[in-house]
């Protein structure tokens, strides 16, 4: 068996989500190869080559791969697929965009968002916003899979020495073109890999009030997240959203402030190690999953929390 993982990157830096997929691949078993498709791909390939457990890096360097367009990258992967038993990608917006296109081109059914590997063809994945766990097995000759990062440890980024090989291919399908990105820049840790997350909900009342949470986050070295309600209300940008259709996080500590705890939000954070809820509504469902609940007005409690953290 050999497994090909689509590396996620921005043409300069490897996205750490790739490391969790390497661990999942290790549990499946077999040779693990990483595909770096980009423009340029060299720097990322060098980072990929040192990941423990990876034996080969395939570089596909072409302008058509620079922006991760699914129409261009999917045929590259299907062209390589016959040498592999499994094709993996992190279940990020990029992996979710590209892999189903790959699966359909290969006429195989994808397994989305796996959280456990039982054997090489049997996997667990959440359904109904994580309110049920489904065990699925696949007899497809090539298994196309996306991997939920929080469910697998990150592989060691150092210690490996994979061979680097260039693969040919690279054609612009002429169907889509990249225009620009508006990426949030932040000095804080990235939401999905932060060890502490402080999130705000509708109870924050205003985007400006998120400053209070940011101050707490900065004392803790935490990332800032939000519920759908807070994003819909325009308090914070979409990339803050934690939940069924946003980001899934599982930090050591998740502090939910002014979040009621709709099942769609819980789906994105209930695997956190320790959950704290601060909400003035004693009946809020968030308290049912919280290890430590504080029934209080957040506008009183959050500044006190910041003070108490010194």
């Amino acid at each position: 068996m050999s497994i090909l993982i689509l590396t996620e990157h921005d043409n300069g830096q490897l996205n750490p989500a790739t490391l969790n997929s390497v661990t999942a691949a290790g549990e499946i078993g077999g040779d693990v190869h990483l595909l770096v498709a980009g423009d340029p791909s060299g720097a990322v390939a060098k980072q990929a080559a040192t990941i423990s457990g990876v034996s080969k890096i395939l570089i596909a360097d072409d302008a058509a791969f620079a922006n991760g367009l699914a129409e261009n990258i999917a045929p590259l992967i299907t062209g390589l697929a016959s040498s592999y038993s499994h094709l993996l990608a992190p279940a990020t917006t990029s992996g979710k965009n590209i892999m189903p296109r790959v699966a359909a081109l290969l006429d195989v059914m994808q397994i989305s968002d796996i959280v456990a590997v039982l054997d090489a063809s049997t996997f667990k994945r959440p359904i109904y916003a994580g309110n049920a766990l489904s065990t699925v097995s696949s007899k497809e000759s090539i298994k196309v899979i996306t991997v939920r990062g929080t469910a697998f440890e990150a592989a060691n980024a150092e210690g490996g020495s994979a061979a680097i090989e260039t693969v040919s291919g690279g054609e612009d399908a002429g169907l889509s073109s990249y225009v620009k990105s508006e990426l949030s820049s932040s000095e804080r840790p990235e939401l999905t890999s932060a060890s502490i997350v402080v999130s705000g909900g509708r109870g924050m009342q205003d985007g400006a009030n998120f400053t209070m949470l940011e101050k707490v986050a900065d004392k803790l070295g935490a990332a800032v997240g939000a519920s759908r309600a807070a994003v819909d209300a325009g308090f914070v940008p979409n990339d803050y959203q934690v939940g069924q259709t946003g980001k899934v996080v599982a930090p050591d500590l998740y502090i939910a402030v002014g979040i009621s705890g709709a099942i769609q939000h819980l789906a994105g954070m209930k695997d956190s190690k320790v959950i704290v809820a601060i909400n003035k509504d004693e009946e809020a469902p968030i308290f049912q999953v919280a290890d430590y609940g504080l029934v209080a007005d957040l506008f009183d409690a959050v500044p006190k929390l910041e003070q108490e953290l010194g």
């Binding site: 965009n97 296109r101 359909a104 766990l133 889509s176 990339d239």
Partner: protein
């Protein structure tokens, strides 16, 4: 231009789903069903494009048992012009759905297919991308803004890092995210009117698609539940617990 909008019938998003005791799936009997919320957003967007003069006809299509006709009627009550129901049993995998939709696209020749980015039951997030692959069309997934200008659609995508702007060649597949629009409610007169709108029924066999499942669901189980926590009296106690008991700060 015609716009095709596939709509899925799922357990209503407010319902707390329960796993069946025999672990074969989740309980669907006597459970409130509704249109997948993302698909409602897709219907709304199709209607807005039509109302702005960008389309002539909005067609809602649903695949499943006869009750799916109710979901199509919901789309018709919102304002879709006609419906197509493809009769099939429960649990059709996204790949089979995409193949059935390809057959509908071949018959109807829409200029745009608008789909929800994922269904809130199986959470697969595959159908739009798969349909796009099968048709050889462009895909604009997770759209939070859509602007069609001639033979190009400008799509703003919600991605992990923020927003991404792309342009896709028409005809195209666009899958919609939460913030594209706020779907309208169907008015009572429109609900009445929808009953008279055309709704065709097709069979899987007539479309010549093999929908045999490729994956086997071995088991469906409840996730591990979290142990009950405690309430703390004040911020001081909270910080104390986090430092000394949980040891996470």
């Amino acid at each position: 231009m015609k716009i095709l909008v596939p709509v899925k019938r799922v357990i209503d998003y407010n319902v707390k789903v329960r796993v069946k005791a025999d672990q074969t799936g989740v309980e669907l009997a006597n459970v409130k069903m509704a249109m997948n919320p993302f698909d409602e957003i897709a219907v709304e967007q199709a209607l807005r494009i039509k109302e702005a003069g960008g389309a002539d006809e909005v067609i809602a299509v649903s695949i499943g048992p006869s009750q799916n006709q109710e979901t199509i009627r919901t789309a018709l009550a919102m304002g879709a012009d006609r419906g197509i129901h493809i009769e099939a049993q429960h649990d059709i995998e996204p790949l089979a759905v995409a193949k059935l939709l390809r057959a509908v696209v071949d018959n109807e020749n829409p200029g745009l297919v608008l789909l929800g980015k994922q269904a809130i039951d199986d959470d697969c997030n595959q159908t739009g991308q798969m349909l796009s692959a099968l048709l050889g069309w462009a895909q604009g997934t997770f759209a939070s803004a859509l602007d069609i200008a001639g033979d190009v659609a400008k799509v703003t995508r919600e991605v992990d890092g923020g927003l991404e702007h792309i342009e896709v060649k028409m005809p195209a597949i666009v899958t919609v995210d939460l913030r594209l629009n706020e779907p309208r409610y169907a008015s009572l007169p429109n609900i009445m009117k929808a009953k008279k709108k055309p709704l065709d029924s097709l069979t899987v066999d007539a479309l010549g698609v093999d929908i045999t499942p490729r994956l086997t669901i071995e088991k469906v189980e409840e996730p591990a539940s979290r142990a009950a926590g405690i309430k703390v009296a004040d911020v001081q106690e909270l910080v104390g617990k986090l430092k000394n008991e949980a040891k996470v700060i």
